[in-house]
């Protein structure tokens, strides 16, 4: 028996930034005192900095789904025409939300692993000139595919529809020019590239979204963003905040600002590139080869091998928690994450472990070949720079 350090390497929750985790120990502060009112506006300002928008960025005490709901309930009315892109489990969540809140949704679906093209979005906007919003995922975490956010954002701008982006795994893994591309509502989550535990969600709101929201009649109170904004302007939160996670976020945002959001994105992109290269070098097939996300790489299990066996192999042999497929993709694919606090050390061991697991399952593998592919990418990127 060898020591197995348990490592959480999933596309959310992600590896925790130690200093952010430790900051939670100072949770005995009250949210209506100066202790908090010194902390919260700085957190909101840093979050806005990291989002890179001139619009508002607000925090909700909820999972990401709560902020997705806020994007619906604050800016739309029952019966509003909208367009929903559905290319995976999280696209299906938008569909579910649109239904729960009685929006009149035209759903553009793509096969798992694929994405909805901007051309299809444009055609749908032309067919539905009254559409008030387009909902989609920047990165569809369940399949590892990324939408063309820039093109879709610009189409929404041209057609006057709100552009609503679930960027829960997109933020910090791909460039998102929120103001330049016309992204009106951009949702993030604490347990993703923000490197802290789950429990907080974020949403940026453009002036155009606020204007549409002024006449939106869907019922809401807990997720009332106008109320949240009013309190945020006073340095407070509308409801009792999750103080422990605000403390953690304060630390992780400092880390991300010091690193630079561009570097965080570049880091994820480089790790994603290395993972794809290693996987194909080992003869494995990518699940979303045409529009791969940099937040997570979905890899097909070799023919005849259930991907659950690979996930279990990582866990049982090496203490590494990686993601299986979700829904019908379970057993078909496994997913390696890159969002947030991931580095090349994680990669070297993960690929070495993958080689050993494949070998143990009878898949022919040349030890070190996948690792060498990652090393080559590292050497080219890092030593060239130096």
């Amino acid at each position: 028996m060898f020591i197995k350090k348990q490592r959480l390497l999933t596309p959310g929750p992600t590896p925790l930034l130690p200093r952010a985790l430790h900051a939670m120990m100072a949770s005995d502060i009250h949210h209506r005192t100066q202790d908090f009112i010194k902390l919260y506006p700085q957190v909101l300002a840093d979050l806005k900095h990291v989002y890179g928008t001139q619009g508002d960025v607000l925090i909700t005490v909820s999972s990401g789904t709560g902020a997705l709901e806020a994007a619906v309930s604050n800016f739309f009315s029952a019966g509003d025409k909208v367009i929903v892109l559905s290319a995976g489990k999280f696209g299906e969540r938008w569909v579910e939300l649109a239904k729960a809140f009685s929006l009149d949704a035209t759903v553009l679906t793509a096969e798992y692993g694929d994405t909805v093209s901007p051309a299809r979005v444009e055609a749908a906007l032309k067919e539905n000139p009254s559409a008030k919003g387009v909902f989609f995922q920047a990165s569809e975490t369940s399949t590892g595919a990324a939408h063309d956010v820039e093109s879709i954002g610009k189409l929404c701008q041209a057609h006057g529809a709100l552009c609503i982006v679930d960027a829960i795994t997109g933020l910090g893994t791909m460039p998102l020019d929120i103001d330049g591309w016309g992204l009106d509502l951009v949702i993030g989550g604490s347990q993703k590239a923000f490197m802290i535990p789950p429990g907080l969600a974020f949403i940026s709101v453009s002036p155009k979204a606020w204007a549409q929201g002024a006449s939106a009649t869907l019922p809401r109170l807990y997720f009332d963003l106008k109320k949240e904004k009013k309190m945020a302007d006073k340095g407070e939160s509308a409801w009792t905040p999750n103080v422990s996670l605000i403390l953690a976020l304060s630390e992780s945002l400092k880390y991300i600002k010091d690193l630079g959001m561009d570097n965080l994105v570049a880091n994820a992109q480089m790790l994603a590139h290395a993972t794809r290269t290693a996987a194909t070098t080992l003869g494995l097939e990518l699940f979303a080869p045409n529009s791969p996300s940099s937040s997570v790489t979905a890899i097909k299990a070799p023919a005849g091998l259930d991907s659950s066996e690979i996930v279990k192999g990582f866990r049982n042999n090496f203490g590494a928690i990686i993601a299986n497929g979700q829904g019908t993709m379970k057993g078909q694919i496994f997913r390696i994450a890159h969002l947030g606090y991931f580095d090349f050390a994680d990669m070297f061991s993960l690929i070495a472990e993958l080689e050993l697991i494949l070998h143990s399952k009878g898949v022919p593998v040349e030890f070190g070949k996948g690792v060498a592919a990652v090393q080559k990418i590292y050497a080219e990127a890092a030593f060239k720079k130096a």
Copy 2:
């Protein structure tokens, strides 16, 4: 300059149980793995044990207000007739929720510091035989007054209306026989008697509530309790849970179970009794003398003294954070909390500090007189038992 240990002594957030706080450091587990699925059902079972109900008890990742919203959106339809008791800032939140979700609310108000009598509730139920629910606070945290939950619960039972109790500061501070008294929805919050930071809310659901919910048409997704229940039955949460707080809750529930919920309630009641006695011994007036809550005691500032000065005195001289009045009560009252992890050591120092602060503001005080009143209560209760 003396050392001032900062002490959080407010009616929520409350003093943190150290072992629960420390448990949050183990947050790097994934909510769809066995690590979590071993943890969560035990937490739900312990929560149910502590609630003392045969019904379901579910957890939402939100502040308490989120669970209040869930109590509205899951069990009612727009236009439903309901009765809302409003005796303080939290009663006003029920009114706000009823309005946001288009319920047809008959509002029974009481002056701050007072409560709505069961007789008034009975009259309202007779006048509104179609009323589908009665909403109120067990303990109105803003005024320190407690409603007669047993009588109101039994009236709801007799009239067939759902009984919806905001027990966010009631749980763990007063007896609540959920099943015996017919309390259909009972809401709690993590940062109260549960001794952990804010970010989780709890709601018990009776079979009668589930039955009414089956035909409820208000829109909901994030707070969809049917979905939550379905996942809870599988040992999981519907959305990504706040893992750090679930870990903390697991520890605090063990502590409360070991202590006994009855003893937690008795502890709060004894501290509340001692606080009231000390306050009146010092010549101060209680804000809710007729129906005092055991979660928090609201005390009027002496004539001519702004209660903010007392609150500041605690903070600046002794590092103790106590609560001011809320809304129009700010400056009029100060509030001493008893819910959760409070003990007699807290009381002795608080009352000694109060005596010093009053003295420093020119209020005539005999040092030690209030403390002696608390000591006497302790001696009678503890040494008699021994």
